[in-house]
Symmetry: C2
Subunit: 196 residues, 2 copies
């Protein structure tokens, strides 16, 4: 028997990360990923089922790092409003518009996915839960994870996808600063009401 080498797997992931960051999902080619990884196109299919799976694997590790980073930044703030604002700046600006970012890649990958790729929304659910907790903790001081924050986290992540989607188009007027401010205001207003 022969066994898959971790080193080959890692090389593919690393190569794919560079390729996707540079070209996005659609214009990245398996051929170039293989070349940079020092293997062949066909051998990549020994390690991954399809191109989508590579993109998801690459995105997951990048995105989780971004989120952990964001959590730290938010916790460093003192006032609820500042916390919420940092959170939104991260999710509606910094992460989806990151210069070597992979959010555009993810959006492209997901939008071209077919049901037969049977995508698993694990990462999405993990993120929404994390964001809901962070919001709750930021606004009310406790991690009670109320219903409301679950919904708000959902809305924020839907809009995150939207930002990622629009970002690769020649940017239209970018209202993000205003939108972030407005959303911060609405979320904090809700927090006040909750306390009474």
């Amino acid at each position: 028997m022969r066994v898959k080498k971790q080193s080959v797997y890692n090389a593919i992931l690393q190569s794919a990360t560079a390729e996707f960051a540079e070209h996005g999902y659609v214009k990245s080619t398996i051929g170039r990923i293989a070349e940079r990884a020092g293997t062949s196109s066909s051998n990549i299919y020994v390690y991954f089922q399809c191109k989508l799976d590579i993109a998801l694997a690459v995105y997951e590790s990048w995105f989780k790092a971004q989120i952990y980073n964001l959590v730290r930044t938010v916790r460093r703030q003192n006032m609820p409003e500042a916390k919420v604002k940092k959170l939104l700046e991260g999710l509606w600006n910094n992460i989806p518009k990151h210069k070597n970012g992979l959010t555009t890649t993810l959006v492209q990958a997901l939008s071209t996915a077919t049901p037969s790729d049977n995508y698993n929304p694990k990462l999405l659910q993990w993120t929404e839960k994390k964001i809901a907790e962070l919001l709750s903790e930021s606004v009310t001081g406790s991690t009670g994870n109320q219903e409301e924050f679950t919904s708000i986290a959902n809305i924020i992540m839907l809009a995150f996808d939207g930002v990622g989607l629009r970002h690769n188009l020649s940017k239209p007027v970018d209202h993000s600063a205003d939108s972030i401010q407005q959303m911060t205001y609405m979320i904090c207003a809700m927090g006040l009401k909750t306390r009474n």
Copy 2:
């Protein structure tokens, strides 16, 4: 000289509408669109620059009809809260999840677009303006189109894109009812504050 026939143009649009509604953007083929339209693949390029342009043309007329419909539905409501809720149900449920809907097509088309396709966000801007006015009118009773509603409209449309994106994946847990309720509440709360 020979002149382009309106009838051929219309046939292409009509055929493309059916094709995109059935297969989405990526899996639709120019060949089938041509066939259903009774012309050849190559002749389609006499009428449209590229596949993206066909999708955008198809989407625009479908989407505008949906929006006009939504405006009517919202205006039919009496209470601000009911108006806002209908608005959100339209934009976060009915339109992006429409069974013969084209939103998935649009999302796919935009996410795979390259800068060289030089996409023009005219429709997007038109929609956000329309939504901002409708919100303002619904919540405050006047079309004053305050800054706040512009931002909220922007957020709603970003999330609209997100809903469209996620809809073609095997649907994860769908929080949309809760999210709509939560957003309705936040928008209306803001309206109250504005009045004082």
